[in-house]
């Protein structure tokens, strides 16, 4: 034992003011030093990484832009020149662009599709921006008025002097968007109802929901599409025919609804019991509680999962080309069979075009979901 005494008595006369953080940890240089060049091994990895990126990007730019053929009337434009292969054959995409967008929709009537797009975008944009007022009116216009308008415009109504365009003539991006958007718009509310049904205290509702969800989740989408196009007509009474496009449309919507239901259920389970009790103790009815308290929180929590399902649905629409519908993938593939454009780079170009188009829509959805998540984040906002 030493005689040394520790000084344990202490008291503060002044509280300390807050200080700024040390400067070397902030800014671009600080970030690079910390993340890219923190030691010699990480520095080597950084340079190897940069080299790999350079290889990929330079080859891509070479193919897609520098060596690309932008203009031409037929395959001669895109054939190898002097034994050297040319880059992307954009001339092919340009020549077929109208078909890729509209399928076999009559050219004289294509303004109807464009007008539908325009109205849809005009209604959608203010809906997506949270600060724009009149959300209720906007929602009614978008979800009730617009579908009717779109149906009349796209399918036609002789009484309005709009000649009918059979759905068999719809194709390309138009068909992809029709299937994807209908699927997205119907699968979310249906999925929410199914998720609530699965948690219901009423045994029949619960059982029906579980059977529905498990049936659609247990069947591959391709099977659903084949069933809808080949088997469904066999079960329908004589004389009753379902439109060739409506059939897969319903299949895709119900299929995604089952997935959506499970995503939403995940959100519902994450809501603490106290939220239900707080709402019930205030006298809210079941539907008020769900609509005002539980679902806003549950859906917000599963935005990534919901958008994931939307993106999956959007891309899965390309499967309808298997049952002979000319969606974007279907029409591009059938165009590849054209001998007039048969060159070594036609197919890669066409698939690149496809990939970029799908990516554009999916990336847009993904970015918007990130924006929404941040916007709705109130839990720990300081």
């Amino acid at each position: 034992m030493t005689e040394k005494q520790h000084k344990i008595s202490f008291y503060r006369t002044e509280m300390l003011p807050p200080k700024p953080p040390p400067p070397a940890t902030t800014g671009v240089l600080g970030w690079m030093r910390e993340n890219l060049f923190s030691n010699w091994w990480n520095t080597i990895l950084t340079f190897i990484g940069l080299y790999i990126i350079w290889l990929i990007v330079s080859n891509f730019v070479q193919f897609a832009i520098l060596d690309a053929v932008w203009e031409g009337k037929d395959r001669n434009a895109c054939l190898p020149k002097n034994g050297v292969e040319v880059g992307a054959c954009w001339a092919f995409v340009r020549a077929r662009f109208n078909q890729f967008m509209f399928g076999f929709y009559p050219v004289a009537e294509q303004w109807r599709v464009n007008l539908t797009y325009l109205v849809g975008i005009i209604l959608l944009i203010p809906m997506l921006i949270p600060s724009v007022p009149w959300k209720r009116l906007n929602g009614i216009l978008l979800l009730v008025a617009f579908p009717i308008f779109a149906y009349l415009m796209l399918y036609g109504a002789p009484s309005l002097n709009l000649p009918i365009v059979e759905t068999t003539r719809w194709g390309g991006l138009l068909l992809t968007l029709v299937i994807a958007i209908t699927g997205i718009v119907t699968s979310l509310p249906l999925g929410v109802l199914l998720a609530l049904g699965r948690q219901s205290k009423m045994p029949v509702v619960r059982l029906v929901s579980i059977i529905f969800i498990e049936f659609w989740r247990g069947v591959p989408l391709i099977t659903v599409l084949f069933m809808s196009s080949v088997m469904l007509p066999l079960f329908l009474p004589e004389g009753v025919t379902l439109d060739k496009v409506v059939r897969p449309l319903v299949g895709v919507a119900l299929f995604s609804a089952a997935y959506m239901a499970e995503v939403v259920r995940g959100g519902l389970q994450a809501i603490p019991k106290g939220q239900y009790e707080g709402a019930m103790a205030l006298g809210l009815t079941y539907w008020q509680m769900m609509r005002l308290v539980i679902l806003p929180q549950a859906l917000k929590m599963v935005i990534p999962g919901i958008v994931n399902t939307f993106i999956g649905l959007f891309k899965d629409t390309s499967l309808v080309s298997i049952i002979g519908l000319m969606d974007l993938l279907g029409i591009v593939q059938s165009a590849l069979a054209d001998a007039k454009w048969s060159t070594p780079t036609t197919a890669p170009t066409a698939y690149l075009f496809l990939a970029l188009t799908y990516w554009f829509f999916c990336f847009g959805m993904s970015r918007y979901s990130i924006f929404m998540e941040n916007y709705l984040h109130t839990g720990h906002k300081r």
Partner: protein, 256 residues
């Protein structure tokens, strides 16, 4: 502790809550055993007891957050049955404050307070907001009205929760361990609000271990153990002269 006005308040002969032979089981576990309790209008009852004694379950039966399986509960003249409209009617008259506040984190403080008046009572938004601000002033946090619950301290959140219940102008208030989840420094601000409320003549059932609060405002203290009411008395008598051995043991554990 100053002798306060709350204690002197008149208690009417009107029955607010009547529980007759109430029994409840969780599976095989018998949580509430032959509960008989009559609460008169204007009464302030503190319920204490060890954890698992059924005190929370008992008050949660009053607004049907828990279902009793035998016996009869009559709240404000309405008997609690399977009938959903009756349950909703009772819930409109009975406010409840929870241990973990249960504020809605996606709504601002003001929206938390106006939600039920607007949707349940069909009150115009402006009127609901005026009432909400009135009660937020009563609980001394009107300046937080436009913040989200996540930005407030525990004590502030609990005061908002009290204001939220009061916005429905309930006839009866239930408190389920309202200060148990709070930091020591915040307990007083919540108890002060509850004392004010008691002085206004509200019928209150409070599950709590704050014995100072019980002495100050309660006109009756109930001790529960093993799903039964073991002892009840006026606070003075209850604390100084408990009759049952179980009560004596409990009080010796919590009063140092």
């Amino acid at each position: 502790m100053a002798e306060n006005t709350a204690k002197k308040m008149e208690i009417s002969d009107d029955v607010a809550i009547e529980m007759i032979d109430v029994n409840k089981w969780y599976g095989d576990f018998h949580v509430l055993r032959d509960i008989n309790l009559t609460v008169y209008r204007g009464e302030r009852i503190v319920i204490c007891g060890p954890s698992g004694s059924g005190k929370s379950t008992m008050i949660r039966c009053i607004n049907r957050l828990e279902e009793h399986q035998a016996g009869k509960i009559v709240v404000d003249g309405v008997e609690l049955t399977e009938d959903v409209t009756k349950i909703e009617e009772i819930r409109r008259e009975v406010g409840m404050v929870f241990q973990h506040f249960n504020l809605f984190p996606h709504l601002t403080v003001l929206e938390n307070c106006t939600l039920a008046p607007i949707w349940v009572k069909r009150m115009p938004k402006k009127e609901a907001e005026e009432i909400a601000m009135h009660f937020l002033e009563k609980v001394k946090i009107p300046e937080q009205a436009h913040k989200y619950p996540g930005q407030l301290s525990g004590g502030q959140q609990q005061r908002v929760a009290i204001a939220r219940s009061l916005c429905m102008s309930p006839k009866i208030m239930l408190f389920d361990e309202p200060t148990s989840a709070l930091d020591p420094e915040m307990i007083k601000e919540v108890l002060d609000v509850m004392v004010d409320l008691a002085e206004s003549g509200m019928t209150m059932l409070v599950v709590t271990h704050e014995m100072g609060f019980a002495r100050q405002v309660a006109n009756r203290v109930i001790f529960m153990d093993a799903g039964q009411i073991v002892e009840q008395n006026e606070p003075e008598e209850f604390f100084t002269n408990p009759k049952s051995d179980r009560t004596k043991l409990f009080l010796s554990q919590i009063l140092h």
